[in-house]
């Protein structure tokens, strides 16, 4: 069984190494940092499904009954793959220019990788909460140090919104701890113990709401998305990729791991309302994206819209919908990272993020145009791409529950096509603007970075069976817990 301690500590050690590295060459530091960021991905792929079941369990702070308990199961493994894949991509996105204070920049990203691995594998509720909140710090510093014009305001809004959303999390954690003393011998923060005793707490509805609020603010579920456009737009490309591809998945994982396992009856009870919010979010995000004149903001709303699509799958309690949601979470991460990547390359060339500043760039940047168009097609769920598989499965799951809502959701796909193709048309097609010197087409480096994303999108789109088989046990577990609670 591969060593989970190794997987957990390598990003932290790498972060420390990069931080103290004497900066006599930013380029060298960049290469070292990117190489180090690939290590978790390599060891995950080498071990693949033999990672399932590996765990670490030490008593960390006995006075507070906090254990250092990490373990990997099928659900965790999917999100670990996503994290290990996206972090190197996000670092590669900034490969053309060395950011100022490169030590701090790369150290923060690697630190974030470590915290995310800890978060997805944590099995002690306080440890989970600790990693949940710590994730915000590297991202906050990334926005505030390397962001755009209004970075301070956006960063502060982002972190205060998040902290406010998870403010009462500690009280909910403590309440669950106390109620776990009723059935088992000792109270504990261990997930397995708490999952059995969570709903016996007299305030279980409030606790479920508190946890759900924290996760919904991070994902974000409509209407808790006020922090999203500014944070996504003001962060640098690396920051935006990390926010959109991984942070939102942390929220989804939280709902799947905690809300579904600890409070299944409440999730079933509230499922109609939550579905309503999620579908409203899909449609609202789509319409908001349609009206944007800034393509980074457009992609931010598009990301928001698609994440709410994933949440639709999460809130329907059937195996189909849950598998679809987990798969689509992975897909969305890959696709949105790709989209922000090409948007970042476009921004570098035209030095602006507004649509309509220059037209007809396909004439001067044909390769960038085609790569962008490919990722756009992936985003709108063209059959053959990964999003199609995920969204279709979610729609199947929703159709079994409520056919009319599924029909409504299916029409939102049309909306996504509208705003995405509008962007492509306005920027790449139509009458070409006069040429600028900076407009060079994709370099080999950029093509090489885009290749793995294209490969993953096509692979999951054409041959999703292996991945779906790996996701199946996770979805089954969630549904079985739900049906167990209902039958009791």
């Amino acid at each position: 069984m591969p060593n989970l301690m190794l997987l957990f500590t390598i990003p932290f050690l790498a972060s420390l190494l990069v931080l103290i590295f004497p900066v006599w060459s930013g380029k060298l530091l960049q290469k070292i940092a990117i190489t180090l960021s690939f290590i978790p991905l390599i060891i995950l792929i080498v071990g693949h499904s033999s990672w399932i079941g590996s765990h670490i369990e030490y008593p960390w702070i006995p006075s507070l009954a906090i254990e250092f308990h990490l373990s990997i199961d099928p659900l965790t493994l999917v999100f670990l793959y996503l994290t290990a894949f996206i972090i190197p991509i996000s670092l590669l996105a900034s490969i053309d220019t060395v950011p100022h204070h490169p030590n701090t920049f790369y150290a923060l990203v690697l630190l974030l990788e470590g915290l995310l691995i800890g978060f997805f594998t944590a099995r002690d509720l306080v440890l989970f909460t600790l990693f949940w909140e710590s994730m915000l710090l590297p991202l906050y510093f990334m926005i505030v140090l390397w962001g755009g014009k209004e970075k301070e305001k956006a960063a502060l809004k982002f972190i205060v919104y998040m902290i406010a959303g998870s403010a009462l999390l500690i009280s909910a954690v403590l309440a669950l701890y106390l109620s776990s003393a009723n059935t088992s011998a000792d109270s504990s923060f261990n997930f397995e113990v708490l999952a059995k005793t969570a709903e016996s707490n007299p305030y279980a509805a409030w606790l479920a709401a508190i946890f759900l609020l924290a996760f919904c603010v991070k994902t974000p579920l409509f209407p808790f998305h006020a922090w999203l456009p500014d944070a996504y737009c003001q962060a640098s490309t690396t920051g935006t990729i990390l926010l959109s591809a991984i942070l939102s998945k942390a929220g989804i994982y939280g709902i799947l791991r905690i809300s579904m396992e600890f409070f299944p009856t409440y999730m079933q009870m509230w499922s109609p309302i939550l579905l309503g919010f999620a579908i409203a979010g899909v449609i609202y995000g789509a319409f908001a994206a349609w009206t944007q004149s800034d393509f980074k903001r457009l992609l931010a709303y598009s990301s928001f819209s698609h994440v709410n699509f994933v949440l639709v799958g999460v809130f329907v309690i059937s195996q189909t919908a849950q598998s679809g949601a987990i798969l689509q979470a992975l897909n969305h991460g890959v696709t949105i990272a790709a989209l922000f990547l090409v948007a970042g390359w476009l921004e570098q060339r035209i030095s602006s993020t507004s649509i309509g500043l220059y037209h007809g760039l396909a004439k001067y940047l044909p390769q960038l145009c085609w790569v962008t168009l490919f990722f756009v097609c992936a985003s709108v769920a063209l059959p053959g791409t990964n999003n199609f598989v995920g969204e279709v499965i979610i729609l199947f799951g929703l159709f079994e529950d409520n056919p009319w809502l599924a029909a409504l959701l299916a029409t939102s796909v049309v909306l996504s096509v509208i705003y995405m193709l509008r962007w492509m048309q306005k920027v790449y097609f139509e009458m070409p603007s006069p040429r600028h010197a900076l407009w060079h087409d994709m370099t080999t480096k950029e093509l090489l970075i885009a290749m793995p994303l294209i490969a993953v999108i096509l692979w999951i789109g054409i041959y999703p069976a292996p991945l779906l088989n790996q996701i199946k046990p996770a979805a089954e577990k969630i549904v079985s817990i739900a049906s167990l609670e209902v039958s009791e």
Binding site: I61, S63, Y140, I159, V160, S171, L174
Partner: protein, 477 residues
């Protein structure tokens, strides 16, 4: 009746002797030659404090009733003594950094600092209300003068007078409370208080006792700057010179809570459920008020006054809970608070350029000028805000856990909600540090003394964030 002190008793009180002797030596040196004192006061102070640490570690426990009636020698007393000496060590270094900029006579300053430490040690080791009062007064009088040490600063004189007038009133009320307790129980000795209270026959007696305790709490709450007895704190912290503010923010706060611990954990644990509820009720306005007003502050010294009031509110929570586990939580929280505040003041010492001290504007763009200083201050502020994964989060979690286990659910929820407010104002300062730098902002000064204090604080915070169990075991005696 034993009327003599043996040699071993002198070793038991050696920490007190060392501090007192050093204080008098520094004063004498200053009296004879100011130039000589300028060179020798800091090394003498630091040496005395280091010797005191050693003495605290090895001093035996005395059983002579001449001493034990007045001074405790148990583990908690030694712990507090150690704590105070370490705080004084850090503050002495910060003061030295300050005096490099304002080269005035320093001997009296170090004398007063050592006297305050002596007073603090008396508070921590008190076995009797009178010792507690003496310690509190020694601390207060030294601080009144320290606040006004910069004789040419108008705001300093004003702060000193305000502190003196209000402090004298609070001390009078404290003393009256002690007198009422004596009237009810017939003794001021801590060992006899609980039994005395439980044996009170008449309601008249218990009313007398409870009023006395209420006044004692009031007097101590003044020192700890708890709403509504906090009114002196913002002005006094703002007017005093920065190292004195650092000592007040850390030393006096720990001292006031040491007094609370000594009276309400050692002498009178869980004596009256009504008192515990009253403390819980005091915590709520403290938390709400301090966190709301701190948002608007731009002067850093005044900001730390409100930050201190807010943390005093958090510290009232384990005081209200009043179990042995709550004592561990309170001590751990005090330790983390002390490290984080000392680290912050170490950084502020480097940007302290004018009478009114650093303002938030002086911190703008600190990251560009000195990433190390900005990182230290950022980490300390995040610890104070209680944001994971810092030790501040673990300290707050421990406090909330003991409160939850004793049933104070509403208090925990209010404290969590005010934590959001506190996160906002601490993050605002951090955001300012990471802004672009403008030329009108003064450059930070280099100071090895501030570096030592800041480095020590950061190392402790990081160590506590990763592996707090040893310290929790140490406090969990």
């Amino acid at each position: 009746m034993n009327t003599t002190l043996d040699l071993v008793d002198f070793f038991s009180i050696s920490p007190f002797f060392i501090i007192l002797a050093a204080a008098l030596l520094v004063l004498l040196a200053e009296a004879f030659s100011e130039a000589f004192a300028k060179n020798v006061s800091l090394p003498l102070t630091l040496a005395a404090l280091a010797a005191a640490v050693y003495a605290i570690a090895v001093s035996p426990e005395s059983v002579n009733p001449l001493l034990t009636l007045w001074i405790r020698f148990d583990f908690l007393a030694q712990l507090f003594n150690l704590f105070f000496v370490l705080i004084a060590f850090a503050c002495a270094l910060l003061s030295a950094s300050f005096f490099r900029q304002y080269p005035i006579s320093q001997g009296e300053y170090y004398f007063l600092l050592l006297s305050s430490v002596f007073g603090l040690m008396l508070i921590g080791s008190a076995a009797d209300f009178l010792t507690l009062f003496i310690g509190l007064e020694t601390l207060s009088i030294s601080l009144y003068i320290l606040c006004g040490y910069m004789k040419n600063w108008g705001m300093s004189n004003e702060a000193s007078l305000k502190y003196f007038l209000m402090g004298a009133l609070a001390a009078a009320l404290l003393l009256y409370g002690i007198a009422l307790v004596y009237g009810a129980v017939g003794t001021t000795n801590f060992d006899a208080l609980l039994n005395g209270y439980n044996n009170i026959a008449s309601t008249q007696g218990s009313v007398l006792f409870l009023s006395g305790i209420a006044l004692v709490t009031l007097g101590l709450a003044f020192k700890a700057a708890i709403v509504p007895f906090h009114v002196w704190a913002p002005d006094v912290y703002c007017g005093a010179p920065t190292p004195v503010t650092a000592f007040m923010a850390v030393g006096t706060k720990v001292g006031a809570f040491a007094a609370f611990v000594v009276v309400f954990f050692v002498a009178l644990p869980m004596f009256n459920a009504g008192w515990n509820n009253a403390i819980a009720y005091l915590a709520v306005p403290t938390l709400i008020y301090a966190n709301m007003v701190a948002i608007k502050q731009s002067q850093m010294r005044r900001f730390f006054a409100y930050s201190g009031i807010s943390h005093a509110g958090f510290l009232l929570i384990p005081l209200a809970v009043n179990t042995p586990e709550a004592l561990t939580a309170l001590l751990f929280y005090l330790a983390v608070y002390a490290f984080a505040t000392l680290g912050s003041f170490a950084v502020l010492a480097t940007v302290d350029v004018r009478e009114s001290g650093a303002s938030i504007h002086d911190l703008q763009g600190l990251f560009r000028r000195s990433p190390f200083l900005a990182a230290v201050l950022a980490l300390c502020l995040l610890t104070l805000a209680g944001i994971p994964p810092t030790a501040g989060f673990l300290a707050k979690f421990f406090v909330f856990k003991v409160a939850f286990q004793s049933g104070y659910y509403a208090l925990v929820v209010i404290a969590l909600l005010t934590t959001i407010l506190s996160a906002y104002y601490y993050l605002r300062i951090i955001a300012t540090m990471f802004m672009g730098v403008s030329e009108e902002v003064p450059r930070p000064k280099k100071s090895w003394m501030a570096a030592v204090v800041g480095g020590g604080a950061i190392a402790s915070i990081i160590a506590l964030s990763l592996y707090p169990q040893p310290l929790l075991d140490f406090f969990g005696f």
